[in-house]
């Protein structure tokens, strides 16, 4: 019953989406006043998909083995949290999550959008409905999560042990809220292009939605990176794997969009760019969804490989992105550009910032798809991996980081006062950092060295906008900017430290043998068997000592039975100045055990930086939303 209820809710939601679309067509043709009706429909549609998703969660929570999806991806012996999180640990379930976020984002948008531009609202809601329709069709026709199994199975096949981790509870939902949340920006852009109402008011309306989605996307990517780092036992945090790139591309586009919106909101300029970026951001989300599920690119993260479904998704992508691009090509000439600005001005700074972000996005896009294109054209197989992306995107990112430090110090329209005096302290910080790295670490590579220098510059420059003003009267949006930009410097420092100072020790050690990694002495005391709820393991007992510090670590090699798999559980200890990361491998006939030990100084700064960036966005969002509420008392009067 529950599964059928979930399926019925989904059908109903799809029907409502169709109705929503028809209403939009009606309104645009006849000018009928459908805004209130459309809002109501969008909200009910969102509620229905939530119900559907709740049904899926319920079915997984109860391990209802008469549902095919539960049989294929769950097991009665799994810990409860993984039973529930396992609902989205597979293709159909995660696609339902995707569609739920799409519909719920639309519902929130319909509920909270309070600007007077109802034609644009109607067009935007119609666009959101069209998006939803295609994906409802995909779900209901090609990826039904509620399909029954008759007769019901006796036991499930289990969830991939690599996914039996808190990361599964956090990473996909946050990531989806992020990049499917960008659909609202897409729909607003499409709506505004249709009605021609592209101006600073639109930008101010779009901004909180972009900010919200961007914050969650930042958190989702940061979480994904950390999860892969500690779960896969390889000590790395980014591989430039196609699936990772698929999540990075929407983020790059959304970051550029965020900054472009600020220009449009403040100065009415960059209309065409902002609309194009809004379309590109969600398009990249759809491209990512396609890449991850179609099996078109080889990846260690790909979780569903089905060319048939891939074809359906590609068709959806082609129609949606093609229509949006065509709409842009048709309507862009009608956009009247806003006030002009000088080469040295904040607008120009933001434009150049967007240029660099777009170029990096372009490089990631090209690098990810290039092997495919070469093979299609010439039949040759070549690979594009980390060496390419690091060599090309790295320096660009560093230049961008310098711009991030200087841009906020420029004024709108034309920079009249000299900027360089305000950069004296950051420049000094950079020079000091460079000097220190040359003296204390002469052997490191050039890119990490430059990264340290730039990070020092950015860390100092990021706080300059706060100087010479009353901190209590500084808008929250400015605080948000400062925190986010500072977060970039923090993350950059972590990346450089990881690249330059990581020590690795690989050894095959007998119990009692002493190993060294970085400043640590590590001894393998013994290897003991152990067990958990649905796994058995061999556990290494390690003792590590550095000066007066003494820690114990227990890396494990776990064996699961449903499905039969082996995973590595690294033992990681975090200190103020780095992480000790230990992995145990297989035994050799001599009775010695394979060990991989890393000492990674300051590596946690990478993810701390990511969190700071998201936090900055949150502060800015709160600031923007509250500023609006303060300025519109009628809003509060209406709803209190």
């Amino acid at each position: 019953m529950i599964a059928e209820a979930g399926l019925a809710a989904l059908w109903l939601a799809a029907g409502l989406a169709a109705l929503q679309f028809l209403l939009m067509v009606l309104a645009l043709r006849t000018g009928a006043d459908v805004a209130r009706t459309m809002r109501a429909i969008a909200i009910v549609q969102g509620a229905l998909t939530l119900v559907s998703f709740a049904m899926l969660l319920l079915v997984f929570a109860r391990t209802d083995l008469s549902v095919a999806l539960v049989y294929e991806n769950s097991h009665s012996a799994k810990p409860f949290i993984y039973k529930v999180a396992g609902a989205w640990g597979n293709h159909e379930g995660s696609m339902l999550l995707w569609v739920t976020v799409l519909a719920v984002a639309g519902a929130f948008f319909a509920w909270l959008y309070r600007r007077k531009r109802e034609r644009t609202l109607v067009a935007a809601l119609g666009s959101q409905a069209v998006l939803a329709l295609g994906f409802y069709a995909f779900l209901l026709i090609a990826s039904n999560p509620f399909a029954r199994l008759n007769p019901p199975a006796v036991e499930g096949r289990g969830l991939n042990p690599l996914l039996q981790d808190p990361g599964l509870a956090f990473h996909p939902p946050t990531l989806y809220l992020g990049y499917v949340g960008l659909s609202v920006a897409f729909s607003l852009a499409v709506g505004a292009l249709l009605t021609g109402q592209v101006d600073s008011r639109l930008a101010r309306a779009m901004r909180p939605w972009v900010l919200g989605a961007w914050i969650l996307l930042t958190l989702g990517i940061t979480a994904g990176s950390y999860w892969a780092y500690y779960e896969l036992g390889w000590g790395g945090w980014w591989f430039w794997d196609p699936v990772e790139n698929a999540s990075l591309m929407p983020w790059l586009a959304a970051t550029a969009l965020l900054h472009s919106i600020n220009v449009l909101a403040a100065r009415g300029a960059l209309k065409a760019w902002t609309m194009m970026l809004a379309v590109i951001a969600f398009s990249m989300s759809m491209v990512g969804t396609f890449l991850v599920r179609s099996g078109v690119l080889t990846s260690v993260h790909a979780f569903a490989i089905d060319p048939e479904r891939g074809t359906f998704l590609l068709a959806l992508l082609f129609v949606y992105v093609g229509a949006a691009f065509a709409l842009f090509a048709w309507r862009a000439p009608a956009l009247k550009e806003g006030a002009p600005f000088d080469l040295v001005s904040r607008e120009a700074g933001l434009v150049i910032n967007n240029l660099f972000l777009s170029v990096i996005l372009g490089i990631v896009f090209v690098g990810t798809l290039y092997p495919l294109i070469v093979e299609a054209v010439s039949g040759e197989k070549l690979s594009v991996g980390a060496p390419y992306f690091n060599a090309v995107a790295g320096p660009l990112a560093l230049v961008l980081a310098v711009l991030v430090g200087t841009g906020p110090l420029l004024t709108w329209r034309r920079q009249t006062r000299p900027v360089f005096p305000r950069l004296k302290v950051p420049a000094l910080a950079a020079a000091t950092a460079l000097f220190i790295t040359i003296v204390a670490a002469p052997g490191i590579a050039i890119l990490p060295r430059l990264a340290f220098t730039v990070a020092a510059f950015l860390a100092a420059a990021a706080v300059v906008p706060l100087t010479n003003r009353n901190p209590l009267r500084t808008p929250l949006a400015t605080w948000g900017m400062v925190i986010a930009h500072f977060g970039i410097a923090v993350a950059l420092t972590g990346m450089a430290a990881n690249a330059a100072f990581t020590s690795e020790t690989l050894a095959v050690a007998k119990p009692g043998e002493q190993l060294r990694v970085g400043p640590w002495r590590v001894v393998l005391d013994s290897v003991v068997p152990t067990a958990g709820k649905n796994w058995t393991a061999i556990e290494g007992q390690l003792r590590a000592a550095r000066g007066n510090q003494l820690v114990k670590l227990q890396p494990q090699m776990r064996y699961f039975t449903d499905p039969p798999t082996e995973t590595n559980e690294a033992a990681i200890r975090t200190f103020r100045d780095g992480q000790l990361y230990t992995v145990i491998g297989k035994p050799e006939p001599s009775g010695a055990w394979q060990l991989r030990l890393w000492w990674k100084p300051f590596v946690t700064l990478i993810w701390a930086g990511g969190v700071l960036i998201a936090l900055g966005g949150l502060v800015a969002l709160v600031g923007r939303v509250f500023r609006r509420r303060r300025r519109e008392p009628s809003w509060r009067a209406r709803y209190s």
């Binding site: 060319p307 074809t311 992508l317 691009f325 090509a329 495919l372 299609a376």
Partner: protein, 171 residues
């Protein structure tokens, strides 16, 4: 300029459609086909057997078969290799990552189609040939040049093909 994004989309979708239509071939083809056989000396898989340099005056034509006692498809393949041997095709076997005892047991159970048998405990010969798994089979001509690679087990329909490849090289 405003049509550039559309053009780019068309290009990308075309490439993706192509890829969906022609799924990726995940087998790794050796680039050594057409090149001289690696200049290595093979050690016998059976204790006390002779060493054999790969390049010599009498290189071929010969069929080289990479196999292993722990390789499941190799069991069925052994029958096809026996068939090839019956048809007069000389086959050299190279056992990957195997112990002499296990090789001997495997051959005792499944028959020994090999004229000579070499051991490759650390996959060095396999890598030198550009092979990436077991079983794989190569055909070598009289001038020590690798002419053909067959990836995967030899099926019944492959037997006449390999036989013909070997025969053509005898001329």
């Amino acid at each position: 300029m405003r049509f550039a994004p559309l053009a780019l989309l068309l290009l990308v979708v075309a490439a993706l459609v192509w890829r969906l239509a022609t799924p990726e071939d995940t087998t790794v083809k050796s680039r050594m086909v057409g090149q001289l056989v690696p200049d290595l000396v093979l050690h016998s898989a059976l204790p006390g057997g002779p060493d054999r340099p790969l390049r010599s005056g009498s290189c071929g034509p010969v069929v080289v078969n990479f196999f292993a006692s722990w390789c499941v498809p190799c069991i069925a393949e052994a029958k096809r290799l026996a068939e090839l041997k019956r048809q007069g095709v000389p086959i050299f076997g190279i056992a990957i990552r195997d112990r002499p005892q296990d090789v001997a047991n495997f051959l005792a159970r499944n028959g020994n189609p090999y004229e000579e048998l070499a051991a490759d405990p650390q996959s060095k010969v396999q890598i030198a040939f550009g092979a990436s798994g077991v079983p794989e089979t190569f055909v070598i001509d009289p001038y020590c040049i690798i002419r053909h690679q067959h990836i995967g087990p030899i099926e019944q329909e492959d037997v006449p093909i390999i036989r013909k490849q070997w025969e053509d090289l005898r001329k």
